[in-house]
């Protein structure tokens, strides 16, 4: 099974609305729900999504987002709407592979885009994802996945820091280095002096 993930920003609101819908007191797709599927000005018509096989790979995507957070990565939670790829294609929605820019070498390779050109496209995409499932990860679970990714040298931290030194990637990477939890590409590992 292949899943397509779209990261959510308003997790609490989605949860409340979905719970209401499931108990028969809410709308099928509230108007605000469409906002999550509007491509950013930077991305033009391309809506960023990720193609994964399972929850483990989805956690890697969350870890990639965690590194780019401007606040401590372990704070809060990470949520995605996930739909099976064949449901998208049956709805006439195509995805195309484009390079991601999260600085995670594995996750950036799973990055795709959906072209959202019109309000009709937007409604179709939003309603298709609305029918999908939630994938929800706690911040501290994501933090552990980030450490694991850094140990595998999946993050191009040095490259990301050069691109945007103000991004949270610097803060979160510094924390890992200080904890001695990670060796970062381009940054030498700190070796504790041997006890005498």
């Amino acid at each position: 099974m292949t899943l397509i993930l779209r990261k959510l920003e308003s997790t609490d609101v989605w949860l409340k609305a979905k719970a209401n819908e499931e108990s028969g007191v809410g709308e099928a797709l509230p108007a605000w729900g469409i906002r999550e599927f509007v491509p950013s000005e930077k991305d033009g018509e391309g809506l960023s999504v990720f193609r994964v096989r399972d929850r483990t790979e989805a956690l890697q995507v969350a870890a990639a987002f965690g590194m780019s957070k401007a606040t401590s990565a372990e704070k809060g939670r990470y949520a995605f709407m996930a739909v099976e790829e064949n449901l998208l294609s049956e709805a006439g929605i195509n995805i195309s592979k484009t390079p991601g820019d999260l600085g995670h070498l594995v996750v950036d390779d799973k990055h795709y885009e959906i072209r959202v050109r019109s309000s009709e496209d937007l409604l179709l995409v939003a309603s298709t994802f609305w029918s999908g499932d939630l994938m929800h990860f706690e911040g501290r679970t994501v933090l552990k996945a980030m450490r694991d990714s850094m140990r595998r040298d999946d993050f191009d931290v040095a490259g990301q820091a050069k691109i945007s030194p103000q991004k949270g990637v610097c803060m979160n990477a510094l924390k890992f280095i200080a904890d001695g939890a990670a060796v970062v590409r381009g940054v030498p590992e700190v070796v504790e002096p041997a006890a005498t």
Binding site: D12, W14, L15, K16, K18, A19, N20, E22, S23, T71, S72, K75, G76, R77, D133, L134, M135, H136, F137, E138, G139, R140, T141, K144, M171, N172, L174, K175, I177, A178, D179
Partner: protein, 132 residues
Amino acid sequence: MVKLQSETQTALRDLATKVDAIASALHVGPVTIAAWEPAEQVDPSQLNPDSAEMAAVFNRVADDGEITNSMVQEAALTGLTSSRGDVRAAAARAIATLNPTLAASLLPDRIKEENSGFVASVMLGALELATL
């Protein structure tokens, strides 16, 4: 008496978190922001157990770890059977934060019994955290 944090306090808390991270990275000792007052303890018995406010309190427990009194854990255990999905989900998150051992024993059965796929997904995330 429940007093939710003002936006200013929330902003100061976020700032304090960033300063802590930088201080930790630089091997500097604890840094205090004088204007920041930690959140007041919350008495959940003052809240309707089936309300959005209760879900918000449980989510604050999980997100900030600031509210840790035993009454909140008791309320969260009750919250697992709330008629509101957002309360059940938030209660699971709070229990995973306050008492991971308890969460690891309780949540597998709760997830099986949960009717809402969304709530079950949040509970699964909480269970993962409890069993890290």
